[in-house]
């Protein structure tokens, strides 16, 4: 056994990662703070690496926003209309790289930013944005932690992380019979943990007994131990704070291990993704999930129209059913556009002030920020997989159909 080998593997990987991360350079100035020419916005995106799927959807959302805004002549800044020009860079799903790219954009004079995908990337970026005096609209970083640091320059259009499983708890509490006991399974990344804490607090508020709280490493495709642990406690409902792969694992392995809650399963962001039903087939039926946006979300705006119009646009442009990842990205871009128009300037400080007082309906629901920069004014929707499709079942005002309960048929 040559003990140097693991060291070499690490050294190689590190060297390559460093080379990849450091190969950007200062280019010509493309100031987004200037008063003429196209309005340049910087966006670091996870186009490769583990978040490549969501990164691609986020890019679609930004692209659709750019084409919609430019189709109307561009962003109205004062008396002139300026075309929107979003510059993309790949951060390889690495928070460090995402943060470096923010710096690179700043070096080029680009002050207005759209965030990368996910809480970890966004959190890393927010610190740099604050330091550089840039302004960023966050499309997919929902972790409340990002907004507890007193940052003044990051605004999230999406509902906070605590709402993800709390909304599922609320939907279950409205069901008949409402579950009396509930177990929480969760990935151990910051976002998922915040989601779980929010769900537990809401469950207790609704008088449910929390009989299990199990964490597993994020990205696990084997969650059998956690399922085994809650099996003996016979919860009426199992709520997972998960990403797609862990969500698929919970349903598959619960089936294998015959873990059948009398009420049903809820799994935050996994079920709204079309891949969830595709991968699981029949087993996906009746699993609840929470979504930032659905095609029945209420509200409309001048650029995108209603949620239904938006869904049709995504289908026509990208050839797939609308995903909420598209919508939240478009909404972030929309918020930035509206703020620039409101400020009548692309100067970062003025845009920041305009964002903090923005209060507008949109295809994405109400966009308005609290003092921390979170959009707490928009409810989340709860969806259920019925006949292989994710349909909105809660809140009542946006429901497409009735929730099937108990979801497990028990």
């Amino acid at each position: 056994m040559k003990t140097t080998k693991p060291v070499l593997v690490l050294a190689t990987a590190t060297a390559l990662a460093l080379t990849a991360a450091g190969c950007g350079s200062k280019g010509a100035s493309q100031s987004s703070g200037s008063d003429s020419g196209p309005l340049t916005i910087g966006a670091s995106l996870s186009l490769t690496g583990e978040l490549a799927r969501e990164g691609q959807l986020t890019k679609e959302g930004y692209q659709l926003c750019q084409s919609k805004v430019n189709a109307k002549g561009g962003v109205k800044v004062g008396d002139t209309k300026r075309k929107l020009s979003i510059k993309y860079q790949d951060d390889t799903s690495e928070p460090d790289t995402a943060a470096q790219l923010v710096d690179q954009f700043n070096d080029k004079g680009i002050k207005l930013m759209l965030a990368s995908y996910g809480s970890t990337n966004t959190e890393a970026q927010a610190a740099v944005v604050e330091r550089n005096g840039q302004v960023m609209v966050d499309s997919a970083g929902a972790d409340d932690k990002i907004f507890q640091k007193g940052y003044q320059r990051t605004f999230a259009v999406l509902s906070p992380a605590t709402e993800y499983s709390a909304s599922i708890v609320d939907a279950m509490a409205d069901a008949d019979p409402a579950p009396k006991t509930v177990a929480f399974l969760s990935a151990d990344d910051g976002f998922s943990k915040t989601v779980t804490k929010g769900g537990i607090a809401e469950a207790k508020k609704k008088g449910m007994k929390v009989v299990g709280e199990e964490y597993f490493p994020a990205g696990s495709t084997d969650v059998s131990s956690s399922l085994n642990k809650v099996k003996g406690k016979n919860p009426d409902a199992i709520i997972g704070s998960v990403h797609l792969e862990e969500g698929v694992a919970i349903v598959k392995q619960a089936h294998e291990l015959h873990v059948v809650p009398s009420g049903g399963f809820g799994e935050t962001v996994a079920p709204p993704t079309p891949d969830f039903a595709k991968t699981l087939g029949d087993q996906a039926e009746n699993v609840l999930g929470s979504s930032q946006w659905t095609p029945t979300t209420q509200g409309h705006d001048t650029y995108f129209g209603t949620a239904k119009d938006y869904a049709a646009d995504v289908k026509a442009t990208f050839g797939h059913a609308p995903d909420y990842h598209d919508a939240e990205a478009s909404a972030a871009c929309l918020a930035l556009t509206l703020a620039v128009e409101k400020a009548g300037s692309a100067k970062p400080d003025k845009v920041r002030d305009a964002l903090s007082s923005l209060d507008t309906p949109s295809f994405f629901g109400h966009i308005k920020f609290n003092s921390k920069g979170q959009n707490v004014y928009k409810p989340m929707s709860v969806i259920q997989v019925q006949n292989g499709e994710a349909v909105t079942v809660w809140p009542q005002s946006a429901a497409e159909t009735k929730m099937v309960w108990p979801g497990t048929g028990a």
């Binding site: 056994m1 799927r53 490493p217 084997d222 642990k229 797609l244 792969e245 598959k252 991968t279």
Partner: protein, 294 residues
């Protein structure tokens, strides 16, 4: 007690699958002293082959597994014969760089070809389970476990009883002497790499059947193979099987009785412990550390 039995059974079944993932990696390392960082990418590529055949033709993944093995064998053979063989005598750093680059190429290629969406091969039976007492025996995992053990036994028989197998071992032990005996080392190397890739492809099909995958998962499987190969030890075909089963059991028991987030740390703690007590791995041969490369 039921929970313990369930955890043990699940750990063993999972361990068998892990063993199948790592056995090819261990073979290549043991015979050629090449740490193939593209191994995980081979696993995922195998999963895609089985998935594509299932989606397009409705082929059962346990048959698709054979097609995946064939495709990966050819790919592995070609890669070794015309690429890795060029640098196989160079310092290990060069082969590491080469296979790392190959891995990037394959992963990004799959990203473009299949998108980064998560996939799973859906069958009517793989998620069903048999009840034995209070313990559930998942059918898909049981089959995958059976395949893993059968493949390992076949590999042992192949290496011990056939002329080709023995020439692989002989080349692994002393390349110079093997050449003097008339063994074509370049062909044997390519054959070894092809077999390893084929086994990775089979493992990938199993992963796709009992779980889900996407291109980004490749790195995780390479790391896992590394841990299992080191734990089991090189130079013994049973090394990966023993290593896989140990990791499977440790993760399952650890997950059952400790906070679930500790499992990865626990698996590495076991690795460190084993290396302190048995530096050549659980069933590895110390000989491989001191062999002469000619």
């Amino acid at each position: 007690m039921t929970a313990f039995a369930q955890a043990t059974l699940y750990g063993l079944l999972q361990g068998g699958l892990l063993a199948l993932i790592a056995v090819g990696f261990s073979l290549v390392w043991g015979v050629m002293n090449v740490i193939n960082l593209a191994h995980g990418a081979f696993v995922i590529l195998g999963a895609y082959v089985a998935w594509k055949l299932n989606a397009a033709l409705g082929l059962d993944p346990f048959l698709g597994m054979l097609a995946a093995a064939a495709v990966l064998f050819v790919l592995g053979y070609v890669v070794q014969r015309y690429l890795v063989n060029l640098v196989v005598n160079a310092p290990i750093f060069i082969t590491l760089l080469l296979t790392f680059g190959l891995s990037l190429l394959l992963v990004q290629g799959m990203n473009i070809l299949f998108t980064a969406n998560y996939r799973g091969i859906h069958t009517s039976y793989a998620s069903e389970s048999l009840a034995v007492g209070g313990v559930r025996v998942p059918l898909g995992r049981l089959l995958a476990f059976g395949v893993a053990v059968a493949v390992t036994l076949l590999l042992v028989a192949f290496v011990k009883r056939t002329r080709t197998g023995m020439s692989i071992m002989a080349t692994g032990m002393d390349r110079g002497a093997a050449r003097l005996m008339g063994i074509r080392a370049h062909h044997v190397y390519a054959l070894t790499f092809g077999i390893a890739a084929a086994l990775a492809g089979m493992a990938g099909s199993m992963i796709g059947t009992v779980g889900s995958f996407n291109p980004a998962a490749a790195g995780g499987y390479t790391l896992l193979s590394f841990v299992i190969a080191v734990l089991g030890g090189l130079g013994n075909m049973y090394g990966a099987l023993v290593g896989g089963l140990v990791i499977g059991l440790v993760e399952s028991w650890g997950g059952q009785y400790l906070p679930g987030t500790w499992v990865s740390a626990l698996a590495f703690a076991v690795l460190v412990l084993v290396l302190i007590v048995r530096p050549s791995g659980l069933v590895g041969r110390a000989f491989y550390a001191s062999r002469v490369e000619v």
